[in-house]
Amino acid sequence: MSESVLEQFSRIAAKPYDYAREWKKRTGGRVFGYFCTYFPEELLHAAGLLPMRILGYKENVSLADSHAQPFICSLVRTSLDAALKDKFDFLDGVVFPHSCDSIQNLADIWRHNFPRQFSEVVVLPVWVDIPEAEDYLTEEISRFRQKFEKHLGASISDADIAKSVGIYNENRRALTELYSLRRENPGSITGKAVLDVVRASMSMRKEEHTALLGKLLGELRVAPKTNGATVRVVLYGNACDHPDLMNLFDEMDAVIVDDDLCTGSRYFLHTEAVNGDPIRKIAQRYMKRVPCPSKHTTSFDRRRYLVDMVKESKADGVVMLILKFCDPHAFDYPDLAKRLTESNIPHLLLETEMQPSSLEQIRTRLQAFVEMLKEKKNV
């Protein structure tokens, strides 16, 4: 029996690094790992590489203990640990965007420990809504391009970059449609399946992913409407790579209707047209996307954004999945939670880690939360 589309996404999302090895064998191409969705991966794609998001490793840390303290987030610790254990043997290079203090220092630790591997940081601006930052970022991406071209021994043409941006935009539009189909008919696809699709898009060549996603969208467009009586939840947070946790929502008969996650909608929302200088266009997109809490903005109000998302998706509550030791999120959390409470939106904070852990405590808390939402809804 052949694998269904969702099974394929699920398999790749569960073992993206196996996919990278398989892709390499199949195509003979090169794979670059990147950290955080702010890396301008379009450039890697334009050079024919597979950009693969490094999103930690599901194993307990041993070797990284002598490089990164236990109070550093598990995304950094498990990724470094896996590299030290040689689990990333398929990587031909590693690139970092500037995202937060910990990723920034990880980049330096990485190049110290793997001096022979190509690694480079694109030092993104932190302040993302001023024109000065757009100019700076355009120039910084160009600097990376030159260094990358030198490493490749080949130049990447503007036309190729523009083409890749087009391919990325197509994927972003398809993912956006997936989210809007889900909002309309959330019972037609599980929250886990949607996160699998997004996670897979961070690991696959985009053309391949878009083609597969096209099939799924075709099915979803004609999916029968399910009843709207179940509890509707919005997810908020950073990197969620926990299929088991997502399965709990199904188990409890709650549906996910939308998310503001770094492994969710923040990755793909906002596309930028491709006319003019493609590097500037890439810079503009990274400036205009829904910002990660590690970024500073003058105009974006995350509290309002989240409340609006809840209202527009008619959600009953918000589950916040925040990686322990993630400073940017930890600083935003209290004011965000306060605003949700003031807006009469129930919310639940779950602290997560990348490595496997017992779900029992999370199950109990989530169960109580979902029960509360059900009661509130039926009254």
Partner: protein, 408 residues
């Protein structure tokens, strides 16, 4: 043999006077029709001084709270409204104090606006965003890109353009134009003060050292909070003279100095006195610290003040790669004849702490100087296990081989 305490550094009491006068002035700002801006350790204070705005430093204030053993009490207030215990303990103390008005000086004066530059960490970006919402005041922000290799012309240009933006923003808040001539003067004074501070620290190259880092942690307050004011350079000039005199008289900060150590990262404020006495007993003098050195690297020149502060604030050492920090430590080890390095692995200062293991390795490889990491926190006593830390420090010092003849 009887241990006698060395005579105190006289300038220490002058610091207390200066800081009291400063905080009094800040607290009376509204009464005197002056504006107050809260700013971070890497904030471009020269702009504030030149605009006659009183700069107030939540970090310095938090350190005072820590030293007064109020860290846990204030942190718990912040934790009570949802801030994780994993966030910066300075931040938690600051918010705790802002809410309750509690601190050794009964809290800080309310800010008219905030000035934040993220050249020290991403934490201050988030911290000042919280403050802007808490006080509902404008935030003037300057984004200084992290320097992994060399600061690029692009990045310096970006910082300078933001300084122009910041000036415009502050002019409209304050209702006055910035006088460039005045900024030039302030920048010159600031440069003079940082140079004098650098010379003060350099006096610790003497064997035995006339001052140790525990003195420095107290004596640094004016360079952090008052640089740009004329009395600061004078203060450090006189401190320099006092230290010269101590050297001539053979007064050692640690009598019978046997080991010379380097301290990386912030002090453990709530144990500063105990640790100072403990090291004294061990005949170990902390002769240098990356933290104290953080305020000497500014090269400020008044001819083109925007250019000068743009460059200076774009790349303080804490905004540079761990490779650069390792090189800075190497230079300190060599210049100050250091026998061993103590890395304070500071739970609530992740950017300063992540990378210390690799820095330690680089340093030992380059200089032969060994190092240890001790787990603690600058302000949160709950993250500190005294017995374990002291045992480690003592065991480490026992393994050190002083590199020069012992001075008795």
């Amino acid at each position: 043999m009887h241990d006698t305490l060395p005579p105190r550094i006289r300038a220490t009491s002058r610091v207390k006077e200066m800081m009291s006068a400063y905080y009094l002035e800040a607290k009376n700002a509204a009464y005197n029709g002056r504006k107050v801006a809260w700013t971070n350790g890497g904030g471009l204070v020269e702009l504030l001084v030149a605009m006659d705005v009183i700069p107030v430093y939540p970090e310095n204030h938090a350190a005072m709270c820590g030293a007064a053993r109020m860290g846990v009490e204030l942190s718990e207030v912040a934790e009570g409204i949802g801030y994780s215990r994993d966030t910066c303990s300075y931040f938690r103390c600051d918010i705790g104090s802002a809410i309750t008005g509690k601190s050794p000086i009964m809290g800080l004066p309310r800010p008219d606006f905030l000035l934040c530059c993220n050249n020290t960490c991403g934490t201050v970006t988030k911290w000042y965003e919280v403050l802007a919402r808490f006080f509902d005041v404008p935030l003037v922000f300057i984004d200084a890109p992290f320097v992994h290799d060399e600061a690029t012309a692009n990045s310096i240009q970006y910082v300078k353009r933001q300084i122009d933006r910041a000036i415009g923003q502050m002019e409209s808040i304050v209702g006055r134009r910035l006088d460039m001539g005045r900024l030039g003067e302030v920048v010159e004074l600031s440069g003079k003060a940082t140079r004098a501070w650098g010379e003060v620290l350099a006096s610790c190259k003497n064997i035995p050292s006339p001052m140790n880092a525990f003195d420095g942690f107290i004596l640094m307050a004016p360079i952090v909070t008052l640089r740009g004011q004329s009395e600061v350079a004078d203060f450090y000039e006189s401190l320099k003279e006092e230290l010269k005199e101590r050297v001539l008289k053979g007064i050692a900060a640690v009598p019978g100095e046997k080991y010379r150590l380097l301290w990386d990262n912030l002090p453990i404020w709530f144990r500063i006195r105990d640790l100072s006495e403990r090291f004294m007993k061990l005949k170990a003098c902390i002769v240098a610290s990356t933290y104290l050195d953080g305020w000497v690297s500014y090269e400020l020149d008044s001819a083109n003040p925007i250019e000068a502060i743009g460059r200076a604030y774009a790349s303080p050492f804490i905004n540079e790669s761990i490779q650069k920090r390792a090189a800075m430590l190497r230079d300190l080890v060599e210049a100050y004849s250091v026998d061993g390095v103590i890395f304070h692995s500071n739970r609530s200062c992740r950017p300063y702490s992540l990378g210390q293991y690799d820095i330690k390795e680089m340093l030992t490889e380059w200089t032969g100087a060994p190092g240890i990491l001790i787990e603690a926190d600058m302000n949160d006593e709950r993250a500190y296990s005294e017995g374990a830390v002291l045992t480690r420090i003592e065991a480490f010092i026992e393994t050190l081989k002083p590199r020069r003849a012992v001075v008795v």
